[in-house]
Symmetry: C2
Subunit: 204 residues, 2 copies
């Protein structure tokens, strides 16, 4: 019996060697980004670093922007897992206010680590890819919907709180300011003022 | 008596014809931006549109990015005038909370009108030029300093509120979403949720 010409159902899982190849390429790209900055991550340089042919890099990512998007997808996926099924208050099970605070603290730490990547993926002609890849906006919309915020302000406030959280690291702080900031931890001043902001927006 | 080799004091005012030339170029660039979008604003196209030589455009702006920065400087200057010396509550004389609300409403209207320009000036490798050109961050820092916000959170909250205000139009909303929004006015939902946000952050 022949296989159907147009197979339905789930897409075929990635072959084991293709998946391994993908991980090797992503790790190489991540290392280059950390060591030399986004400008040095090119298709050619990545092929050389990972020890594969240029054709492999091209088939996998399509373009330089495709490298950054794949890296972002990969990192965002790990982050989302913690929010969707990790322990509370970042994961499910805590009150909306506590989840907003915990999400903000975790997200600030994430953006400190990934700021070069996040900025490299910014496209001045389209809204931030973060808006598509990141779960921040829908997550905030869901959490605010379980508070006393009036329905007519839910969309606006979710968007403005998303911006309040991600904007400083995506737009306003310079590389030098980010580098001067100590490793993000409980003492991080941005995380502390995020908590202050949420406590003021959702008192009681 | 000879003029000093290194003249002190105010820079010499722009010659009348140079100033006129500058205005003609800025108006032409603004019209091109509105009609065709940022991609079509190039050094050559601007020279042709304004009916001047390429050398004039080059001496004036230096580069394509220089055109956008000059346009932004010009628009921001007009906006700042209203905040610094216009009538309250946008101008001086009202309570900090009322000035924050009024500034946000005016700024959202400004960003709706200038969003193509603001995004064209975004540089993925540096913080937003808005952070240098715009007065939002220092203005918010000053206004919050006159409220009950604890001193240790002033810098963080000023940065996060700046992002909450400018981020949606600079980062998250697509061109299509901005185009769908009716002319900004008292009914603008983003401006209304900005007011809700400020009233929650500064109750009483």
């Amino acid at each position: 019996m022949n296989a159907p010409l147009v197979p339905f159902g789930k897409p075929r899982p990635e072959r084991a060697d293709a998946a391994r190849n993908r991980q090797i390429l992503l790790e190489a790209a991540r290392a280059m980004l950390a060591e030399h900055g986004a400008e040095k991550v090119t298709m050619d340089a990545l092929a050389e670093r990972a020890g594969v042919g240029k054709g492999t890099v091209f088939r996998r990512f399509g373009s330089r922007a495709g490298i950054f998007n794949a890296l972002l997808d990969d990192s965002e996926g790990r982050f989302q897992e913690q929010v969707l099924s990790g322990p509370p208050p970042l994961g499910p099970g805590a009150a909306p206010k506590q989840r907003l605070i915990a999400y903000g603290r975790a997200r600030i730490a994430y953006l400190f680590v990934h700021h070069a990547l996040v900025r490299a993926a910014l496209d001045r002609n389209r809204p931030a890819p973060m808006g598509e890849v990141s779960m921040t906006l829908p997550h905030f919309r869901m959490l605010l919907g379980r508070t006393d915020v009036p329905r007519r302000h839910l969309d606006g406030l979710a968007l403005q709180l998303t911006s309040a959280l991600e904007g400083p690291l995506m737009l306003y702080l310079s590389r030098e300011e980010i580098a001067r900031t100590p490793e993000p931890d409980a003492e991080d001043p941005l995380a502390d003022s995020w908590q202050e902001l949420v406590e003021r927006v959702l008192p009681g």
